[in-house]
Symmetry: C2
Subunit: 115 residues, 2 copies
DNA sequence: GAGATAACTAACCTAGTGGTTTAATACAGA
DNA sequence: TCTGTATTAAACCACTAGGTTAGTTATCTC
């Protein structure tokens, strides 16, 4: 895997188990055991997922006795949001009519539909 | 690996070459050769990246003679935006985190912070 | 100190990814 | 029909990812 930050974040999010972990953490800190409970897989597997999330900056871990509670860190998602914003016009329905209009008046544009 | 749509989209976006291809396509349709030109890698490698993007629904391909022009399809990004929106309060400083957090606790939604 | 509990590491397996080279396919034009 | 161009397919390789089991470390409690 390429290790530029955005790629790491996208890669971390490309797994439903890890997204479920983030969803759980969005409701508050949780221990590894608590996070692993809903899944069929073993604890080391969950531990690996957590390491992926941690390397992407999406979670942080503190230490309380033998527990290492995980906390959601949303900051990397800002990069995703910024990347996504550049493409908003390609998926946001409220732009559809504008796109149609531009397509209409730009028929035959050699550089493409929206150059 | 996982074949749920959102995972496929995130996975497709987790590669800088593929994101660069999307950036290029955001300025209009392009042939495979044109898309491959900025990269060091061989043409079959680019062709594979395009296949990944196509399976994720992020591009479509038409046929004009021996050319297979690619076009950006933004629809799958809406799913990303919706997923991301649920976490906005964790990265957008303009949100009042405590209020949102309390709202979510009261809803007791198990699937995510705001879904 | 002796368990019990929480979490991690190590070693391993299978399958997938990203790249290559070489060969095949599809089409345009002379 | 032959040739050049655009693109994909096949076979292969090194590396990574996601999972397992078994063993280790850290800490609490008795």
């Amino acid at each position: 895997m390429t290790h530029d930050p955005l790629s790491q974040v996208f890669s971390a999010l490309a797994d439903p188990t890890r997204r479920a972990i983030l969803a759980r953490l969005s409701r508050g800190e949780a221990s590894v055991n608590a996070l692993a409970e809903p899944f069929e897989m073993t604890l080391p597997a969950v531990s690996k997922h957590l390491k992926v999330l941690e390397k992407a900056g999406l979670i942080s871990r503190s230490r309380t006795a033998q527990w290492r509670p995980c906390r959601l860190e949303g900051a990397p998602l800002r990069g995703v949001a910024e990347w996504l914003e550049a493409y908003r016009k390609f998926w946001d329905g409220s732009f559809d009519r504008l796109d149609d209009y531009l397509d209409d008046i730009q028929k035959g544009d050699p550089d493409g539909p929206r150059s």
